[in-house]
Amino acid sequence: MLPGNCKIAIVGSGPAGLSAAARAAELGVSHVLLEAESWLSNTIYRYQKGKHVMAEPDVLPLRSPLEFGAGKREAVLGAWDAGTTNLKVNVQHRSRVASISGQKGAFTLKLDNGAELAAEVVVMAIGLQGNLRKLGCPGEDLDWVQYQLDDPDEYQGETIVIVGAGDAAIENAIALADHNKVYILNRRDEFDRAKPGNLSGISKAIEDGKLTCLFNTKPVAAENAPAGKRLRVATNDGETELAVDRIIARLGATPPRAFVESTGVTFPNKDPNSVPAVSPQYESNVPGLYIIGALAGFPLIKQAMNQGYEVVEFIEGRAVEPADAPLLREKFSILSDVKNIDEALETMRRRVPILGQLTPLQLREFMIDSDIRAPHDGEIIFELNDYSDTFFSVVSGTVVIEADPNDPSKKFTLGKGDFFGEMSLISGRRRSATVKAGEKCVLIESPRRSMNKLINSVAAVKRIIDEVFLRRIIQGRIAPTLPPEELADLVSSAEVRQFRAGETLFSEGDAGDALHLIRKGSVTISREIGGKDIVLAYVPAGQYVGEMALVSDLPRSATARAAVATETIRLDGGAFKALMMRRTQVRDRVQEVYRTRVAQNVVSQSKPMGDILEFMMSQGLGEATDVLLIDEALCVRCDQCEKACADTHGNVSRLKREAGPTFDKLHVPTSCRHCEHPHCMKDCPPDAIKRAPNGEVHITDACIGCGNCERNCPYGVIQMGVQSKEKPSLWRWMMFGGEEPGRYHPKKDKNAAKKAAKCDMCKDLDGGPACVRACPTGAAMRASPEQFVKMYRGGH
């Protein structure tokens, strides 16, 4: 059934692979499309029924023989199925590739079922989802052994064995236990991989006898015995048999990396997010082996489909202008002397050292995400205390950095090839200086996500940025006026330390051997008073801790703990003391900080707020920039805050007043904390989550409704909802009743796309957050951690 030979073997029938195969079929090039499943595009096939699929980025034209536009899952898949049939694409289903060997012109692909085929070139388009782990015993492919559960209500009155101990297994088991007899098979003796909520859920379900858990048990074989379906299992006490109707194995997926590496393709580093580097023609380091789609770092459907088309053109020896060329041309249009984009890109690479580390394809994508700016002389690029988090590289001309607005002498100039903005990028905090453009300045402004992607995938970029960050923060915080040579010892003694939330940097009574500059996260300072740990202070990123012991030579007077995941720069005490001996200005500066901190500690001990501070830290204050707080002694539970939020934000409230914890009478409702390093931003395919200059973390219209942010937020403040523009009339409601403003729930439109909704701090409204402005009693308030601590200390 398999043709022995073909020119192009395409592995994986996702958007990228499918589009490549379709183009090959259209051109009449001999090809085969290998797909492990019995259907096309498994990832999208697995989307929930009726899910709305988005077609971001809008500006990018589609270039593929197959159709694609935003719409329902069924419509998208239907169009691809039809296109594949019409073009007579040679698809081989149930063909999982086990290995790829050989070289350009003579690759051998071995399939799981033992078959082999030869191809001149291979296009790998397997995405990042990986393969679902199977049962690993005979019978794993029986039709009553499944690896997915779409709708638990489909099954009633069955005996079902769930295999696995992760969150998916637990959630399935609990959901099925309502109407079925459920066993859950756990290889080990506890559920230690599960989320706390699921762990308590499963423990309770077992205790209540809702389902039975078999610990230390492994499946041995699933078989159709004469008496019915049976699963043999091995326990510590020997083998036994279970009569079952269905087995659902939820064992996670194997990341594709090991497979990809087995073909000879290399990854730039060990970071699990990193993807292999490819040439502008999508060729990997193995000649003749091409990589497209999510595995090449392009997670969006349209990009992937375009690459499928382009890769076949390249293989056929035709040069195609990439689909992004018009976009790049537009970016460069600001520079009048640029004629040829490839040349211009090459110039940028030469001029800016950190871009020199990128592959041409990475550079293209980086430039599409970035903006080229040519500010006029003296124009402000960003100001001190802005909340922006973009990164700037200087292509030509100069910029002037003003560290202190009150002291014009504290400024320095950066020129061609330098970069700035790395402080906010790393610490997630406000800008630490004002930057103005110098003469004939040309800059590349890159968004945070593109930078993080680069840092993760190109080791050299990370190293360069880290070094510069280190030097600048030491200079800025400790010795602004010292020449860099003076600091060389100190800089070379520095190392980056990482601490988990709650981990100790140093303890009270320890000898003071180092100073910690907080680079990311925040730290609490506590002291044991009356046998109890009392939190005295909160120190955010950008500040340092541990100087007291160095200045006074006494043991540590307090304990420093990471409030959230924190990174510090540890400066060696010896090198630091030597510098203080040499340079009185450093000593004076540190002593000044020391004196204010001693004074501060005296105040905090007389006005302890330890418990409340600790509670707030547990609620994420340590990484927050702005929190909504409700004083329950003033709150009359009128829900004006929620109504105001819904009314001003498309009838979807972004806060839940009643939910969330309370300490004493301070209530933290479920509402966005606008984290320094927003968890929601981590994995947003269209990069729709942004930080506004005043710190608001908000979601733009580019949202594709994938729900990643909702899952990534540890505070549960993002909801998926259908937003609507219409608002009920206040007067009509007052006169005749009906829909009340703020409580309006428009009729559900089944076709409407759900998008992520979160607090944007009403950045587009005059007057500030609607929730606070609508609170009649003064119970609702928004505060930054610094304001919060200050207000608590200082009364009102």
Partner: protein, 307 residues
Amino acid sequence: MATTPHASFLRYERYRYLKFASLLCLLSIVAYWWHEPQDGPNGGTWLGYTLGTIGALLIVWLAWLGVRKRRYSSTLGTVKGWLSAHVYLGLALLTIATLHTGFQFGWNIHTVAFVLMAIVVLSGIFGIAAYARLPTLITENMGDADRETLIDEILDLNQQSLKIADLLGPEVHRIISRSTERIRIGGGLRDQLFRPLPQGRGLLDELRRVLADKQRAAAAEAYDPDSSSTVIFMAGEMAQARKSGDAAEKARQLMELISRRNALITRVNRDIQLHAQMQIWLYFHVPLSIALLAALVAHIVSVFLYW
């Protein structure tokens, strides 16, 4: 309790509107005292008209709070500022309107308007008191939990107790299932306001009695004197003892679950009661305000008609 940095609407901008309202009252009183019209103070003098106009404008403005607080995108002050002004100026209205009457009351539309105004202001005063006292009580009662979670927990405890009751025989099961069917949360307006529904002490007593009976019966069976000599019985007795010990343990668990459940029901009902008490005054304040507006129009029209 530590004070939070929040500032109540009553203290808005260092009592700005309290000061303003006091000044307004003071000026009115001084004017009233100083002004000596020929036929005694009344609404028809120039001062009477002035006070009347101020009062009428105040009433319309005070009622406008209902509109402003629902205009969520409005930037005309904050709702907190509005409420602060509403409270203090509303209290001032009582003085101004009283001075406007010149203490002339009778069985007419004018006095109706005045009485309505007085009731509205008094219900508002009740509201201030409710807002000052009840929120803290709600927090003390509910702690960290919210009502929905507690109700979920109650339903869960019901399930658990039914399961245990099942093991203790049909009679116990009947008692428990009857009690779960009878759970009442909330209730009518009167129940909500005044009487958090009690959860039967009777139930626990009945349960205790039935379980004690069962245990006695089991013990009597165990000490059957006829067969006490046989070795086989000894084994049986031990098993029986273990069984009845097991049942006693189950019974104890059941009692505990039911007490816990009842405590939760009391808490939820108390929460409902406090919420009801915090809102009930609005059911007078708002409709009477609308009646007041109507009476005010009638008062003004009739004054000008019979001028």
